[in-house]
Symmetry: D2
C-alpha cells in the first residue's frame, strides 16, 4: 500500500468473463468496486448480485484508484487503457492487467500509461474458475517492486499465492509458458495414449500406471481421464484462448531468436486443431483432434 | 499362484543393475534366489550381501521355477532366453521380463518360449532406485490373466502397485509411453524456462508459479528445480536408456501407422542430445542441451 | 551378361501395374517375357497386346532365367520369392526387384534366395509412367558388381540411366530418400505458397519468380503449378505409395539412430494427410490437405 | 517512366554489399548514380572504379529522383528512410527497397514515406552475385501498378525478369518464401543424403539418380554436390541472412495464424544451426550441422 492509500480502495474492474465475474465479487468484499463489461447486462447483473457499482460507460471508471482489466487479449487492454486515460484517469493510479496477455503489447501499454504517471503491472492468474470463486488463485506479477507491493494488497482478496516474477511483462511471460507447457504435456499424453489404445490396451489401467510414474503431469492426472475414459467434455476454457497463449509463448521464443522446436510444433498443432474444432471448442478437445487425425476415437468419445 | 506352486519359489534373477540389485535383494526375503549378472563380480557380491546363490553360468539358472530378467534391451532378453532354454528350462516355468523393452521383440521372445511350454510376461517397473530399494515400485504387466496372477505373487516382494495392462508386450508399451511423456514434458519445460530465463526472469519464482499451475508435471515439480536452479546434476538414469524408450514409443506409433508428431520430434531431439552429451550422460542433462543449442546456460549450470 | 547367357533371355515379369505394364512391353521387344499379375485379366490383356506369355500361376515363372518383380511393397516381394522358389526356381537365376521397397526386407529376401543360389538386385525406378512407356527410366541398382552387370543388360530395354548405387538394399534406400525429398520439397512449397495466397498475392507470379530462383524444386516447377493454379488434379501416383516410401526413409534413419527431424515430421504429415484424403488419393493432393488444415483453398481447387 | 521523367535519372544507391556493389555498377551505365555505404571506403572505391559519385553523408542523397536501398534488414531501411527524408527528399521520389526485408516493416516504412509524398516499392532480387554482376537478376516487386512501371525501367539495368507480385510488401513476402523453400529443400536433402552415407552408399551416384529423379531441387542439383562431395565450402551468402529470411517466412505464417509445421521446424533448425556455426558461416554449412548433430561427416568435409 502506498503511503496515504486507505482501505477500502476505489477499484474499477473491467471484464466480467468466467474468471473476472467471481474475482470482482471477491474483491467487492473489501473494496468499492465499479464494474464494466463489454456486454453491459453482465455488469448490471453483477451489481445486483454483489453490490458493486454498475458502469455503463468507461468514463465512469476514470475516477478509480486502481483499474483492473481482465479481457481476452492485450490488444483490448491497450484500447481500454487509451479510452480510460482519455477520460481523465489520474496520475498515481495503478493499472493491474490480469489478462493472459503478451509481454510486448503490455510493455507498450505500460509505456503509454507511464506518460500520464499511471503505474502498470501485469498480473495474470492460474487456478481456473474454481480458484477464482474460492479466492485461491495463483497470481504472477510483473512490474516494479513498489508496484508489486501495491498489487499484492489488492490481490489478497482474489488469490493465495501472489508471486513477483519480474519486470513489466514477466507475469504474462510466465503465464504463456505455463500454458505452453500444459499444451505440450496434454498433446504428448494424448499421442501416447492413442498409441496404447490402438494396440488394444486398457487406457484406465495405463493411466493408473503413468499417473503413479514419471510421465505424469497435471494433464494426465487431472484433465485427461474424465474426458477420454469418462466421456465428459465440458466447456471449461476455450481452445481459442489456450491457442493464443501458446502462440504468445512461441512468439516470445521467436522474437528472442531462440530455437524451441517442441513449443514451436505444439503451437502449430494447436492452430491446426483450432481451425478444425472451431473457436467455441474446449481446449481439452484437442485430444479428439489427435484421434481424428488418425481415424481413431477415445472410449469416452461419442460417435458424431 | 498356480495349483501346486509352493513358497518359497526358486527364482533365477538375471541382471543386477541399479534397479535389479535391490529388487533381487527384496525378493530374496521371500524366495530362493539365484543371481546372475554379465559381470559376475556383482552377482558374487550380491550373494555375499543378501544370501542369494551366485550363478557363474546361465546353465545354473535352468532349474528355476521362475526366471526374472532385467537388462538394458529386449535384444539381450532374447539372447538370455535362448541360452537358458537351451540349458533345459522346464515347461511350465514363468519368465518375467522386467526390462524396459519393446513390445515387438517381447512378443517374438514369448513365442519362442511358448514352443517349450514356458510362459512369459513383460513386467517393467517405474519408481526409480528409491522405489526399488523400498520395494514400492509400480509394476505394469502384459500377459495372460493367469500368468498375471502368478506374476503378481512374486511382484509383491518388489512393488506395491501391480497392474495388469494387457496382453504380452502391453507392459513394455505402457512403460515406453510413460517415458516418452516424461521426455516430452521435460523438454517442453526446459524450452519454456529457457525462454523465461532469456527474458531475465527469476526461474525459481517462475517454477513456483508453474508448479502451482496447470503446466506442472513430474518433470517441472520433482526433476528440474534441483538441477537448473540448484545445480545438482547426479547420474540417476542414463540418457541412453531414456532415449531407447522414447525410440520404442516412436516405433510403436510408426509401426501402427499413427501420426504422432510431438512424440516423433521428441524422439529426434533426444537422439541429437544423446549424440552431443554422450552415452554416459544422465537423462536430465538434455536440459543442458536445450540451453547449449541456444548459447545459454542455466543458473545451476557450471561453466565447462 | 554372364558367360553362357544368350539373348533373348527368358524373363518372368511379376506385377503389371501402371509402371510394370509398359516396362514389360518394352522388355518383350528384346526378350521372351512371361507375365504374371495378381489380377490375371491384366496379364492376359498384356499377352494379347504385346505378344508376351500369359502365366496364370506363379509356377509357370519358375523356369525363367531372370525374374523381375514390381509390386506395391517388399512384403509382397518376399511372398512371391517364397512361392516361385518353392516352384523350383533354379540356382544362378537373377531376381531383379524393381519395387519401391525397403532395404531391410530386401536384404532378408535376398538372404533367403541366396540359400538357393539365386542372385538378387534391388532396382527401383524413377521417371513415372511417361518414362516407363518411353523406356527412359532412371534405374538405381543395389547388389554386387557382377549382378549389376547382368541387371544392366536387361535394364537397357527399360531405362536410359542405370546406376549402381551400392550393395543389396541400396537401390531401395536411394529411392526412398528421393521420394522423401520430393515429399518435403512439395510440402514446404505448399506451405510457403499458402502463406502468400493468404496475403492475397498472385500465385502464378510468385511461382514464376520462385521457379527462376533458388527455392525451386521439381515439385515447384513441374508438379504444383498445374494443380494449385490450373486446377488439374489427375491421379498419377497414389499417395499411399508415396507415404510408404517416406515411411521407409524415416525408418532407415530411425534404425540407424540418426536424428533427421525434417524427414521425420514430413513422414508424420504425410501419414495424417493419407488418413484424411484416403488411400485412393493422388500424392499431389497433400497440397489440398495443407490448405484444408488452414481453412483455405487454392485457386485451382474446386469447392467440394 | 512517369511523364516528365527523363533519362538518365539521378539515383541514390544505399548499400554496396556483395549484391549492391555490382548492381550499382550496372545501373551507372544508364544513370547518374550517387553511392553511399555505411563503411565509406567501399563507396569511395566504387566511385573510383565505376564513375559513380561518392556520398560521404546521407544528406547528399536527398536530391535524388530515385533512392535504392539494399541493406541487411528492414530495420535499417526504416532508419535510412527517416534520415534521408529529414534531409529533404522531395515528394514524388520513388524509393525502391531491394533489401530482403520483411513485409510488415516495409509497409510501415512505406506509410511514413507516403506522408511526404514519396512512393515506395519493395524489390528484392534473386540470382546471387553472378546474376548481380551479369545484370540478369530476377526482381520481384511489391507496390502499386504505377510505381511498378517506374521501377521496371530502372530495374532493366540490373535484371532480366522483373515481376509485379502484388501490393507493398509482396516482393519481400515472395523472397522470404523462396528462401524458406530453399532452406527446407536443402535441409531435407542433407538429412536424406546423410542417411544414405551412413548406410555406406556412394553419394555421388545417389545424387546422380536423385537429380534425374523427382526429389531434385536447386539445392540438390546446384548447391550440395560441390560441397558435400567436392569439399568446396565457399562463403557465398551468409547463413545469418538466410536465417533472417526463413524467420520472416515463419513470422508471416504465424501472424496470419496459419499452421505451417514444416517451415516452422525449418526455421527452428536454422536458428540452432546459426548459433552453432556462428554469424560468419555460409548458409550451405547447415549441411555440416546436419552431420555434426549425428556424429558424422561428409566426404567433402575436412576434419576440424
Amino acid at each position: 500500500m502506498m503511503p496515504g492509500e486507505v482501505f477500502p480502495m476505489k477499484i474499477a474492474f473491467l471484464g466480467l468473463g468466467a474468471m473476472g465475474y467471481p474475482m470482482a465479487a471477491n474483491l467487492s468484499r473489501n473494496h468499492e468496486v465499479t464494474v464494466w463489461n463489454r456486454t453491459p447486462e453482465v455488469a448490471r447483473r453483477h451489481a445486483g448480485e454483489h453490490g458493486t457499482t454498475f458502469a455503463d460507460s468507461l468514463d465512469q471508471c476514470a475516477t478509480a484508484d486502481v483499474v483492473i482489466s481482465i479481457v481476452p487479449t492485450s490488444a483490448e487492454v491497450a484500447e481500454l487503457a487509451r479510452i480510460v486515460t482519455a477520460a481523465g484517469l489520474r496520475s498515481g493510479v495503478l493499472w493491474m492487467d490480469m489478462t493472459s496477455g503478451d509481454p510486448q503489447t503490455s510493455r507498450a501499454t505500460a509505456a503509454g500509461l507511464e506518460e500520464k504517471g499511471i503505474r502498470f503491472v501485469d498480473a495474470p492468474v492460474t487456478g481456473g474458475t474454481p480458484g477464482a470463486e474460492a479466492g485461491t488463485l495463483t497470481i504472477m506479477i510483473g512490474g516494479s517492486a513498489e508496484d508489486f507491493e501495491r498489487a499484492r494488497e489488492i490481490c489478497a482478496s482474489m488469490g493465495t499465492r501472489i508471486v513477483h516474477v519480474g519486470a513489466i511483462g514477466a507475469g504474462h511471460a510466465v503465464k504463456a509458458v505455463n500454458n505452453a507447457m500444459l499444451a505440450a504435456n496434454l498433446w504428448a499424453a494424448a499421442e501416447g495414449l492413442l498409441s496404447l489404445k490402438a494396440l488394444g490396451l486398457d487406457l484406465e489401467k495405463a493411466l493408473e500406471v503413468i499417473n503413479s510414474g514419471s510421465g505424469r503431469s497435471n494433464a494426465s492426472e487431472n484433465l485427461l481421464p474424465s474426458r477420454i475414459i469418462g466421456g465428459e467434455w465440458p466447456l471449461t476454457f476455450k481452445l481459442a484462448l489456450l491457442d493464443k497463449d501458446v502462440r504468445i509463448a512461441a512468439s516470445m521464443a521467436h522474437s528472442q531468436h531462440l530455437a524451441t522446436p517442441l513449443i514451436g510444433l505444439t503451437s502449430t498443432l494447436f492452430t491446426a486443431a483450432l481451425k478444425e474444432l472451431g473457436a467455441g471448442a474446449d481446449y481439452m478437445e484437442v485430444a479428439k483432434f489427435v484421434t481424428s487425425l488418425n481415424g481413431e476415437r477415445w472410449p469416452g468419445e461419442k460417435s458424431s
